[in-house]
Each structure stands twice: as C-alpha cells, then as structure tokens.
C-alpha cells in the first residue's frame, strides 16, 4: 500500500479547496495563494518523482478503501502506478509548477480562483494517469476538462476567449459523453469497470461487435482531446484565447493525455479482445500521418504565435499517434521520450511568447517584427527551444523521433515526418528570427488573418518595463531540462530502461496479473506477451537518427530563412507569399463554427467506425 499514490490527487484538491474556502481573507495576500499553489504543485512533482523510482521495476496497485478484488472481481476502484503513467503525470506536475511560477507576477489581479482551477486541473491530470478503472478514468477526464474550460475563459474581457472556450467545451463534452456511452456498452457486456477485469471478460465472451463499438466510442473522447484530425478543430481556437501559462499545460500535457487514454484503452483493456493488431495499427498509423501533415501545413501559415504553436502541437500529436501505432516497445519508448522533450520545449516556447505578450502587447508575428530585439534572453531561449523542436541533438526530441523511425523501418514515414518537422520547426524559427532578431521582412498581411492575430492585445494588466525573474527563469529551466533529458538518455542503460517500461505497458497479461492477482481467471488466451510478437530492438543513439535530426534542423533553418527573405530572393519572387494559398482552404475547415466541428466529429467517427467494422467484422 503506497500512500503516495492517492496523495498525488488529494494534495492538489485539498489545497485548491482550502485556498478557495478562505478566498475573501486572501484579498490582499496574493503571495500566500501563489506560494501555496506553487508548493502544492512542486510537492506533487516530488511525490511523483519518488513514485517513478519505486515503480521502475514493478507496477504499484492501490485499492481505495482497501476493497481488494476477490476471485477476479473488483468491487472497488484502483489506481495503477507504472513508469509510463507516473512519468506522464510527472511531466504535468513539472509544467504546472513552471506555469504557476510564471504567473506569479504575470497576472496582478489574478485572484485565488486561478490557483484553485490550476490545482484542480493538476489533480485531474494525476488521477487520469493513474486510474485503473474506466469510469474513474472518465471522472478525472471530466474534472480536467471542466477546469480547462474555465481556465480558457479566464479572461472574458478579451474579444476572443468566449468563442474559443465554447468550442472547446462543447466538442470535448460531446467526446466525453460518447466515451461514457462506450463505457456503458462495455459494462453491459462484461459487467465490469475495472480495466484489467474488462480485458479478461471481453476476451473470453462472445459479442464481438460490442467490444469494437465500445472501444471506438470510448476513445472518441480521447481522439477529440488528443486533437487528432478531424477531431482537432477546437485546439487552435482554445489555445489562441487561453492565458499563456494555461496553454503550456494544454499543449504540453493535456493533449498528450488524450493519446495516453487511447494507448491505455488499447493495451490495458481492449487489445486482447479486439485482435487484428496489424490492421488496427495501420488505421492509427494513417490517422497519425494525416494529423501530422495537416498540423504542419496549418502551422506554417499562421501569424498568430499562439495559434502557430498550437498547430505545431497537432503536428507532433500525429507523430506520437503514429509511434503508438507501431505497437512495438521501441516505438512506444520513442513516443515517451518525444512527449517528454516536446512538453518541456513547447512549454518554454509558450512562456517566451507570454513574455513577448507581456512586454510588447502582441502575439502577432507581423506586428512584432524586430521588436523583440530588446528581449535578448527571451529571444535566445525561444530560438533554442525552436531548434530543439526541430530535433537538434542533444534535445530529447531527436531521440524520440529517431526511435520511432528506427522501429518503423519505413522510409516514407521517415521522409514524411522529417518534412512535417521541418515545416513546423521552420515556422517557429521564422518567428524567432523575425521577432527576436529582426531578420528579413515582416510577412505580408492577409487582412482577415491580421484581425485574427490582433484579437489578443495583452493579458497582463499593464505593460511592464522589465521582465520579472519569475517569468524568465521557468522557460530557461524548461529548455535546459529538455536538453538534460536528451543527455541523460546517453547514459548506458537509460534507453533500455525506458524500453522495458514500454514493454510492460504493452503487456496486457502482466497488467491483469498485477491488478487482479495471478490467481485470477488464469489470464486470457488472446493476450500474447508483446515480447514474443516484437523482439526488443536496442534503444540507442544511431547514426541514422543523428543524420536525420541534422537534416531536419538544417531544413528548418533553411525554410525559416527562405520565408524571411522571400521577397528579396531574385529568382523566386513572383508575388507569391509562402503558405498564402492555404489560407482560404484552411478557413473553410477551421471556421470557428461549433456546428461544423460537431459535423466533422461525427464524420470522422463514422469513417473510423466503418473501417474498424470491416477489419474486425469477420472475427
């Protein structure tokens, strides 16, 4: 019984409740709320770090109120702490600490509500990662969602927020209710809510259709949250309007939790019962590739820096989904490292744009052109983070991408991913060069896009003349952390340890044994150990990974340079602005109208459902 496990959820919840209960007393004492919130988030991070060490060899299972399963039937609710789940929650806690330190001097009239909502969000993240029961998973998912909707709308005096918050809340709620329908269906079939128990029961009974349908409905909510095309529309709207410290959490961990939910559902619940692993893998691979390409194209056309970063997140989510779809330990290990590196780097990028917004009162690339020169440290951090996003060694991202590609052994995948990474990182580096160094010309402005980019005029109360250290240190530390994570991977055995963690995550029989005990139903026949399906490939720094990473960085730099100096290029100038042709096309889809988003959601589900029915209909 490891009491750290429930405390990771209870500590932020209790702190939030305490802060909000005494809110009137804290009116003149904002520092108390700041201190308490940062301390609670840091405490959660420390507890999760300890848990990560303790669970490096074995899953820790915690039964609430001590209701252990008997004869393979769980009557209580459990949390399961393993390295992947604890690691993801740890990333969330680290980003939360950074975001709370950043907001210390960022909002002056922030009030206690902000801290309460942030801590509740963190509890949702931790609970979602650790839940071992599908309905419990849904509860934390909803808690995180509701806190996120409220945080998105935190500045309703702005023009934009309410629209983005509404789109976010409605699409995600529809997704969540579809998940709940799926939970009801699988409960009707198996009479269980515990993940391990559902896995055993679903594999050993008839009624295959209900397993397939409930799998898709449950992951529908996660597909929406993970911003997988065509469920991604809400993400840019929400990012554009949410306060910058909140964006750090949305891009760094919330979206990734959607993917974690899909992986958890597949590997811990439905994998054995669904069968047809290779065909399902192809479906996810196709979705991931599509998402990556769409995200990268939209990213490059953006001038609104927060939207641009949001689309870069979508592009990366596609790569993560593809990495999961390989269904190999090395692929999943690559995703884990990639997600960690991406979270730190993306967090730093958002915080730097938050500083720019604070000092220069804009996040419009055109309007900011050259004005960032008076922010040398911010500029250097942003640029370094942009290079990290492109996969510059030793940032952890290059290893993650490298492992995914090593495991895939598909040349087309490497080429597509590299092109996507070049587009997304090229756009970020274009911003870095233009805004912070004044290189090249400001991009010519499409008037509609200009209005969009100017919808935000600043979220701090007054433009200050200097950047407080509490705003500068978090992004610097995040970038350093991303680099340190990459260096740590070079320690012998580090890669292998992550791969072992991934292997355990993918081993459904071992998961069932850990949760229900070896004396359960004796394991299901369908859950073959992953190790026999996929021989463990060595996780190491290969020459090809380094070469691809360097090509990627060079490509991104070249693209950024070409975009900045486009009008001065003698040969190519034809009055054509890079990315301009995409604007009309993308507006058609990214319309901002909630009705369209729900339509695409249903279309996407119908198509995926049809494909799944075709694949699994015979079995």
């Amino acid at each position: 019984m490891n009491q750290l496990i429930p405390l990771t959820v209870a500590v932020p919840l209790l702190t939030a409740a305490a802060l909000l209960a005494v809110r009137p007393l804290l009116a003149g004492l904002v520092w108390v709320a700041n201190l308490a919130a940062v301390a609670a988030a840091a405490a959660v991070a420390v507890m999760l770090a300890f848990l990560l060490r303790q669970t490096s060899t074995d899953e820790a299972v915690y039964w609430f109120a001590g209701f252990r399963p008997s004869h393979g039937v769980a009557i209580g609710v459990n949390f399961v702490a393993g390295p992947i789940s604890v690691g993801l929650a740890l990333i969330g806690a680290i980003l939360m600490t950074a975001a709370l330190v950043f907001s210390w001097r960022y909002f002056t009239h922030v009030g206690t509500y902000f801290h309460g909502l942030m801590l509740i969000f963190l509890a949702g993240v931790a609970g979602f990662c650790l839940a071992g029961d599908v309905f419990d998973l849904f509860v934390w998912f909803e808690l995180m969602g509701v806190a996120a909707y409220a945080l998105t709308a935190y500045r309703p005096e702005e023009r934009g927020p309410i629209q983005g918050a509404l789109n976010f809340a409605i699409t995600n709620s529809v997704g969540a209710y579809l998940s709940l329908t799926g939970i009801a269906l699988i409960y009707g079939r198996t009479g269980a809510l515990n993940m391990a128990q559902i896995g055993q029961a679903a594999a050993s009974r008839s009624g295959h259709g209900v397993v397939v349908v409930s799998f898709l409905l449950i992951i529908a909510g996660f597909l929406v949250k993970a911003a997988i095309v065509p469920f991604h529309f809400w993400l840019a709207d929400a990012h554009a309007v949410a306060p910058t410290p909140v964006c750090v959490l949305f891009s760094g961990v919330m979206v990734e939790l959607g993917l974690y939910g899909i992986a958890r559902m597949y590997w811990s619940v439905f994998g054995g019962a669904l069968g047809h692993q290779a065909a399902l893998a192809d479906v996810f691979l196709a979705l991931g590739t599509l998402t990556s390409v769409v995200g990268a194209l939209f990213c490059f056309r953006e001038r609104h820096v927060k939207r641009l970063l949001a689309f870069s997140t979508i592009s990366h989510m596609g790569m993560f989904l593809a990495g999961f779809a390989l269904m190999t330990p090395l692929g999943l290990a690559g995703v884990a490292v990639y997600v960690a590196g991406h979270a730190l780097v993306k967090g730093a990028l958002f915080l730097c744009s938050g500083i720019a917004l604070h000092r220069l009162r804009s996040v419009n690339e055109t309007c900011l052109h050259g004005r960032g020169r008076k922010l040398p440290v911010t500029g250097a951090t942003f640029t370094l983070a942009g290079l990290g996003l492109a996969g510059l060694p030793p940032f952890a991202l290059f290893l993650g991408k490298g492992w995914i590609e090593d495991s895939a052994r598909m040349t087309w995948l490497t080429v597509v991913f590299t092109l996507c990474a070049i587009l997304a990182a090229g756009a970020v580096l274009r911003v870095a060069g233009g805004v912070f160094y004044g290189l090249g010309d400001p991009p010519r402005e499409d008037p509609r896009m200009e209005a969009e980019a100017n919808e935000e005029t600043g979220e701090t109360d007054e433009g200050r003349q200097r950047t407080p250290l509490t705003m500068l240190i978090p992004p610097v530390l995040l970038v350093a952390g991303a680099m340190a994570a990459g260096v740590a991977m070079l320690v012998p055995g580090a890669g292998a340890a992550i791969e072992r963690a991934a292997l355990r995550f993918q081993d459904q029989a071992a998961y069932q044994a850990a949760v229900l005990g070896p004396s359960g139903h004796g394991g299901s026949a369908a859950a073959a150990p992953v190790a026999t399906l996929h021989p463990v490939e060595p996780a190491a720094v290969t020459v090809s990974a380094v070469v691809v990473a360097l090509v990627c960085v060079a490509g991104a730099l070249a693209l950024a340079g070409a975009a900045l100096y486009w009008r001065r290029l003698p040969v190519l100038r034809r009055g054509y602005e890079p990315g301009a042709g995409l604007t009309e096309f993308s507006r058609r889809f990214q319309s901002g109208v909630i009705n369209d988003y729900v339509t695409w959601l249903v279309v996407g589900l119908a198509i995926i459902g049809g494909v799944l029915a075709l694949i699994t209909g015979h079995g």
Binding site: S173, T181, Y187, G188, V593, N595
Partner: protein
C-alpha cells in the same frame, strides 16, 4: 431478447447531435448537449436492469430478493448533478458571448473573430 431501451438511448444521442449540428443558437445547442448526455443515463440504467429485480434498497425488505444493479444507478446519480453544474458553466459562457457580441448565433460569433 429485446434491445429496445438501448436503441432508445442511441436515438436520443443521435437527436442531440443533430440538434448541435443544425441549431444556430448557443442556448439551444447547450440544451442539445444535455440531450446527448441524457442518452448516457438511459444507456447506463438500461444495461444494469434485471428483469423482475427491485430497487437496491433493503431497509424494509426482508431476506435478499433479486435487485437491479446498484452500480449504474450510482454512476447515473452523480452524473445528473454534475451535468447541471456543467450546463451552468456553459450557460455563463453564452451569457458572456451575448453581452460581448449581441448575438448567440455561432456563425455570427465566428465572423466576429476574423
């Protein structure tokens, strides 16, 4: 074997989604979202029903008679209250949107943005 209650839940779900797609008023859309959620109650409660079972309350019932599943009832019960609160949050967004832009039409709201 009858599937009728499950089909009712699916029908309610489809109606809610149809309303979300076709309505051009945020308040109506929020109500359609409630309709979508209501389908989950029907689905949950239907899956736990046992023919001839009594409600799982035994204070004045001797012995241990056959009862319906208490778990889905517990899930639905908490969910009803939560739904009301989330609806209130969405309604406050809609109030806000109306104050800012003087409209509740999502199409118009999207136009304002760009």
């Amino acid at each position: 074997m009858t599937y009728f209650p499950y089909l009712v839940a699916a029908w309610i779900l489809a109606c809610g989604l149809y309303g979300l797609v076709t309505n051009r008023d945020l308040i109506h859309q929020i109500i359609c979202l409630i309709v979508v959620q209501s389908s989950t109650y029907v689905m949950l409660l239907a899956t736990g029903y046992v023919t001839g079972g009594i409600a799982p309350y035994f204070s004045d019932v001797p012995g241990s008679p056959k009862a319906v599943d208490p778990v889905v009832q517990a899930l639905a019960l908490t969910d009803v209250v939560v739904e009301a609160a989330v609806t209130a949050l969405l309604a406050s967004f809609a109030i806000q949107a109306h104050k800012r832009f003087g409209t509740l039409d999502p199409q118009d709201l999207a136009e304002f943005k760009g």
